[in-house]
Symmetry: C2
Subunit: 319 residues, 2 copies
C-alpha cells in the first residue's frame, strides 16, 4: 500500500486507516446520560476513547503509523518524545509488529506514566524537562538506533488514525449538529475536523481548550501560529503547541474554539465520573466544560463529544 | 398479562421481564481488558451494570416490578426501605408510570444517596438507623398511602428483573465457563443463577462475598439460613441478609460462594478503575477480588462478571 506523506489525509486514506487498525483497536462505545442532557439542555453523545486500548485515542494514530512502516523500517523500531498517552500507545503499537519503541521521557514524568510505557515494553531514555533536551535526546536515540520518529500529532499518518474516532462516532449516532474535541497539539482535533468534513459535511466542529493553555484559540482567532508558552492547566494532554500539519487543517475545517476555566474543567470531570460512571482524564472533560461555560452555543443541539482518554493518577485527584 | 407470584421465575417470566423493561433500561456493554486477562490468567467479560440507568442493576428489577402493577395499584404508588441503589432505582421506575415512590431511609444515610433519591422525585421518610425502625416506618407509610411495597430483593418480580442482566451477558459473549456475581440479599445472585440455568446450563455460577459480611457463605455451606449481623465491610451493597425467596434459589442453582478480604476488595476496585476506566462501587469489585484471592478456581476459564453498580462518593475513596 502506498501512502502520500506530502498531503493532508483524504477520505480514502481515513477509510484505509480505519481498515488497517481495526483488528488492533476497540470500536469504542458511545454513551449518553439522560441526566446530563437534561442538566445542559442538549443531547450529548460521548465517544468513549478512554475505553480505547492503552486508555486513549492515541492508539489509533500510533497503530496506523506503525503499520504503515515497511519491514526494513520497522526492524529498526520507532521513537518519540512524549510524557503522555502517545508514549504508551506507541510502545503498545510497536509490540504488535514485534518491534522496539524508544521513548524519550522527561526525568520528572509521573510514575504512573513511566509504568504504563514500561508495561508495554517501551525502552525509555530519560532527559531533562525542557523541549531542547527532549529534542536533542530524541535525535541522539534515532542516530544510534535508526528508529523512525513517530511524532505525537504533527504527522498525516497520526492525523488519519485519530480521524477514525469521529468516523465511528458519526457512523454510530446518525446526524449530529456539532462534534467536539479538546485541542492540545491538534492531532485529535484535525483528524476529527477532516473526518467530519468527509462523512458529515453539515456538522459543525467546535474545539475546547483551557483558558490557561489557550495557544490554539489565539492562533485560530489571529490566523497566525502562536506557540504554547508556560501553559498552566490541569488538562495535561493539552499543553502542547499546534503543528505545521495540524494548524492549517484546523484553520480550514474547525468552526470555532471555545476556552474554559480550570474550575469548570474540574467540575465537568467530576460530573462525567458521577453521572456517566466512566474514568476520564482532565483533558477529556474540557468539551463538557465548554458546554457548561457557553450553553447558548449548544442549546437543543445534538452534540458528539470525543472523550479523549482515561489515564488518571488516583492518588492525585483534583477534588 | 398475568404473573404467578407464588413461584420461582421460570424461563418465560425472565423472557417477559426482558421484553417488559427493555424500553426503560440500557442493554449495557460488556467490556474486557487484555491487561487484566493477562494479569489473572483467565478471560474476563465485565457486564457493566454500573452504566445502567440510575447507576446499578437495581433498575432492572425495579422497572419490572413497577410495570407489573395494575392501574389501581400504581396510582397509590410504591414503597420500600433502602439506603442504597434500590431506592434511587425504584424512584426512577415510579416516574416512568407517573407514580409516587415512598422511600424510607435511615436518617444517617449518605448525602449522595439522599440526593440521588430526591433527584428522581422520591418522597423520603427518614427513620432511625435500625431494622425495626425501618420496618415499622415502612408499615406506617404503606398504611397511610396504600402504596405497594417493592422489596429490594426478596420478591420474584425483582429476581426476574435482575436475571435479565445475565441473560444479556450470555447472549453477548457466547459460552462462558463461569458467571460471577456479588451476593448481599441475593437478588442479583438468584436472578443470575436462574438465568444461567435457563440460558447456559453448563456454565457454573460462583458468587463472591466479603469475609466480613459472610452470612451468605455461612448459609450456603451449612444449608441453613444465617442472618447478617453487624457486617463490617466497605462493600455497602452486600451487608444485607438473604431472603426466603433468594436463599432456596441460591442453594439450588449456585455452584459455590467464595469470600474475600477487605484489602483485596479495595485492590480489585482500584484495578478496575485503572485498567477498565470505569467507575465501580466497592461491591462490584468483590468478584474480581475473589479471582485475585482464589486464582486456581479461574485459571484459563472464560469468566463473565456482573459489575453491579457505580454509585460512589468521590470525597471518600478507599485509598
Amino acid at each position: 500500500m502506498t501512502y502520500d506523506f506530502t498531503k493532508v489525509p483524504d477520505k480514502q486514506q481515513i477509510d484505509e486507516a480505519a481498515e488497517r487498525i481495526k483488528k488492533y483497536i476497540h470500536h469504542t462505545p458511545t454513551l449518553s446520560s439522560a441526566n446530563l442532557n437534561e442538566m445542559f439542555g442538549c443531547e450529548m453523545f460521548f465517544k468513549c476513547e478512554n475505553l480505547q486500548k492503552a486508555g486513549a485515542f492515541k492508539s489509533r494514530g500510533a497503530v496506523n503509523a506503525v503499520f504503515l512502516l515497511n519491514e526494513t523500517e520497522i526492524r529498526k523500531g520507532v521513537a518519540t518524545h512524549s510524557s503522555g498517552n502517545h508514549a504508551a500507545a506507541l510502545a503498545r503499537a510497536a509490540i504488535l509488529r514485534n518491534a522496539s519503541a524508544h521513548i524519550v521521557m522527561p526525568e520528572n514524568s509521573s510514575k504512573v506514566k513511566i509504568a504504563a510505557v514500561k508495561n508495554y515494553g517501551g525502552i525509555i531514555t530519560f532527559c531533562e524537562s525542557n523541549l531542547e533536551s527532549r529534542e536533542s535526546t530524541l535525535v541522539k536515540v534515532i542516530r544510534e538506533t535508526g528508529a523512525t520518529e513517530i511524532h505525537p500529532y504533527n504527522d498525516p499518518r497520526i492525523i488519519a488514525g485519530q480521524a477514525t474516532a469521529a468516523k465511528e462516532l458519526i457512523g454510530d449516532t446518525g446526524f449530529l449538529d456539532i462534534i467536539m474535541a479538546p485541542v492540545g497539539g491538534g492531532g485529535l482535533l484535525s483528524g476529527t475536523a477532516l473526518a467530519t468534513s468527509y462523512y458529515s459535511e453539515k456538522t459543525k466542529v467546535i474545539a475546547a481548550e483551557p483558558e490557561q493553555a489557550n495557544d490554539a484559540w489565539k492562533s485560530f482567532k489571529s490566523k497566525k501560529f502562536v506557540p504554547s508558552i508556560n501553559p498552566d492547566t490541569i488538562a495535561d494532554g493539552l499543553r502542547t503547541s499546534l503543528g505545521s500539519w495540524t494548524f492549517p487543517i484546523i484553520m480550514e475545517h474547525v468552526d470555532d474554539i471555545l476556552t474554559v476555566s480550570e474550575a469548570n474543567i474540574v467540575k465537568a470531570m467530576r460530573l462525567i465520573w458521577e453521572r456517566m460512571k466512566i474514568i476520564t482524564e482532565p483533558s477529556s472533560a474540557v468539551p463538557l466544560a465548554a458546554i457548561m461555560q457557553h450553553p447558548e452555543v449548544f442549546a437543543h443541539q445534538k452534540v458528539g463529544i470525543i472523550i479523549s482518554g482515561g489515564n488518571v493518577d488516583f492518588d492525585h485527584l483534583p477534588w
